[in-house]
């Protein structure tokens, strides 16, 4: 009965949103804008959601979530346009799509490739939505059992895993990035005793760094610098006629779709990793499982389907920890968290108590956004692809003005701009030296949570660290954190190599008495 009630509640919510003209206009508008943002190289889903956050601060929370989720879904899907038509992915999440999408376009099948990505993205988003609907309430209920000990370790775990998995060079560069984010988070007056930390007497820093300008700076400025400095030029887009859903081809790859969706949701649920990793892992899994892996990279349909299903399923997965634990699962989800805070919705275990209907609303919006994305993709692909013709030296300066006014508008403080620029330049240099930015923003977001919960936890235990070892969930998290750290050390790698050698030495035939 409870399940039926939930399902009914979901359908009622979907219909109440869908039958409001303003909501539909917002939804389609934001999805199309998201597709454009995703299609254009240099613009990312994260930046799109961040810039739109500013525009939505004056509207209702419901309308804001429709706009932002529409942008998120549209942008993740839109990245495939650049990948297929010009072999330049619009977003990092679509980089894997270019591997088989562009060869398909070169064979004259650009329309078919876009049809496959549209349908796969739709299915991936819907599966992600399903997992959000099913697991978010469960995790939210479980999280009510967590205390300050678990929350401190969760925050730290989020930074560690985000740093470890997003680092292209060394894992500890990701951790350093996270620690810098934690430092940025502690600037200002602390929340428990209101003592100024690292403000250097500047009164504007008393309230700490505003999250949205820092995020816009960290994601927007490096992109602008990189695209212009590296003279990224977009070649002539491959032409295509119609975009069709290609259901026949999709039906032959059901296993690929299910596998990729599960990978996408799983990776999305891990803090700070995001859609690009989900796409590559899905692609790799599809290639491994394929009977003809040699066809991958030459225009294999499964290659395109796996990437797009994985990266769009990641959206639902990323929203699960965001809503239930207050820990964003991907960089665009970080922006969503910023938006939720602006609208006085505090994600975390208390969300099902303070806003009991919120998870259902988010699920319903995600469902409608995926339909809007599918319709927009099928009918508007030809028009949207034209934006790829705009040279980067023209649209990147316009993006800069959007970043500036977006950062300014939230607090109407010029000081936010003064902060945005150095953070952006720092982020650019960090990226150029192989430091990932996602852990930095995760650190900025989770820093206050880690700080407060550490001190609260120690207040409860009167300075004792023993509960970290006696509480089961805390012990597991601590163990994982320590293992993640130790696994990157040379002595550990030598030890595991020696252990494997020892284990294999026990298996030779002479030991088993067989010659």
């Amino acid at each position: 009965m409870f399940i039926l009630e939930r399902i009914l509640d979901f359908y009622v919510t979907v219909l109440s949103i869908a039958f409001n003209l303003e909501n539909i206009l917002l939804l389609f508008g934001s999805v199309i804008l998201g597709i454009i943002f995703g299609a254009m190289p240099g613009l990312t889903a994260t930046l799109g959601v961040g810039l739109l956050t500013t525009l939505t601060y004056g509207i209702s929370t419901n309308a804001a979530m429709i706009t932002l989720l529409g942008m998120y879904v549209g942008a993740v899907y839109g990245g495939s346009y650049g990948s297929i038509c010009v072999n330049i992915p619009g977003t990092a999440a679509a980089a894997a799509t270019a591997m088989d999408g562009y060869p398909l376009a070169c064979k004259g099948e650009a329309g078919r490739a876009l049809g496959l990505t549209t349908t796969s993205s739709f299915i991936g988003t819907m599966i992600g939505m399903f997992f959000l609907a099913v697991f978010a309430p469960i995790i939210s209920t479980l999280a009510l059992q967590f205390t300050s000990f678990e929350f401190f370790l969760l925050a730290f775990f989020g930074i560690m895993i985000s740093g470890g998995l997003t680092g292209q060079d060394l894992a500890y560069k990701g951790w350093i990035s996270g620690l810098i984010g934690l430092f940025l988070a502690i600037i200002g007056r602390d929340r428990l005793q209101f003592f100024p930390r690292f403000t250097f007497g500047i009164s504007e820093l008393d309230g700490g760094l505003e999250v949205v300008p820092v995020l816009i700076g960290a994601f927007g400025i490096p992109q602008i610098i990189q695209v212009i400095k590296d003279q990224l030029s977009v070649g002539e887009a491959k032409k295509f006629q119609r975009v069709l859903p290609e259901l026949k081809i999709i039906s032959k790859h059901v296993t690929t779709i299910v596998r990729s969706a599960l990978i996408g949701v799983g990776i999305g649920a891990v803090p700070g990793i995001g859609e690009d990793i989900a796409a590559w892992v899905s692609y790799g899994a599809a290639k491994k499982a394929s009977k003809h892996p040699e066809n991958f990279g030459k225009g294999e349909y499964a290659g395109v389907i796996s990437c797009e299903t994985g990266n769009n399923a990641c959206i639902g997965g990323a929203i699960i920890p965001l809503l239930t634990l207050g820990i964003p699962g991907s960089p665009p989800a970080v922006m969503l968290l910023g938006a939720l805070m602006i609208h006085n919705v505090t994600p975390g275990p208390m969300i099902s108590i303070e806003h009991p209907h919120f998870i259902t609303e988010m699920t319903a919006i995600l469902c409608l956004a995926s339909f809007a994305m599918f319709i927009s993709g099928i009918f508007l692909a030809k028009q949207v692809v034209k934006v790829l013709r705009i040279p980067p030296p023209i649209f990147m300066p316009v993006v800069l003005t959007l970043c500036v006014i977006g950062s300014y508008a939230l607090g109407t403080k010029v000081f936010n701009l003064y902060l945005m620029v150095p953070v952006g330049i720092l982020a650019y240099f960090m990226q150029s030296m192989g430091y990932p930015i996602a852990p930095l923003v995760i650190g900025v977001i989770l820093g206050p949570m880690a700080d407060e919960n550490l001190r609260r936890a120690l207040m409860v235990s009167q300075g004792s660290f023993l509960p970290f070892f006696t509480r089961p969930v805390a012990l597991i998290l601590l163990f994982i954190i320590v293992w993640m750290f130790v696994s990157q050390m040379t002595f550990y790698k030598r030890f595991t190599a020696w252990l494997k050698c020892k284990i294999f030495k026990r298996k030779p035939a002479e030991d088993m008495g067989v010659r």
């Binding site: 500890y172 023209i394 990147m396 800069l400 109407t412 701009l417 003064y418 030296m433």
Partner: protein, 248 residues
Amino acid sequence: MEKVEMRKKDFITSFILIAFGIFMILYTIVEIPMKDSWGGVMNVWFVSPGLFPVWIGGLIIIMGIILCHRAIKDGGAKKFFEDLSHQKKDSSGKTLRFLGILLVIVAYVYLYIPRIDYFLSTVLCLMVFISLFYLDRPGFLKRLFTFYLAGCLLFLIVFLVGIDKQLNERFLYFMDLLVFLFFLAYFTYCRILIGGDGVLKKKLRTTLIMSIVPSLVLIPSFKYFLLVPLPVEGGFIELMNIIRYALR
């Protein structure tokens, strides 16, 4: 080779990180009370606002040391000392491009936005930013960059000395007018550089349109629909207000 170059940079940044970590810990110890009372409340170390910064600082130092060790192991330190004796010049032009982007962003945010009409600042920023990289001919970037830099330095001196306030007292939008004249001078300079080249003339026209149109769309949207008070509402925004209220 690329890996060794990366490790060389890591070698440098490891020292920066260690120094930063030490700074964090020292600042915390000196400025933030770990014990004693603050604001009438008795403090203990585990409640102190200094606990988290000390912990983060310590972790940054450890990470810096690990990074330094890895950089030395992978030949980064050796490359650093080798390169110190043989200074290489960047001939790819990327440094100038980077400096151009930096100049435009820094001038826009720190120089013009706090003092000049927001619409005019934005149009000038777009004009310069687009023209620097869209009018893609050898030598153009350097000349336009030098011209813009000279103008920015001049305005910086005017603002630092305080002449702008005196001028604005005589005529309210004097500085806006000066910056507008600078914008016209920059456009004229671009026109001179282009000469009779038809393709570049078309690009310059596009640059001018793309400087004005997005500003005309964005700024009124934020001011009149989202009701965001702009940083400086000078002569051009006043003109927008007049037009808007005349049309109502």
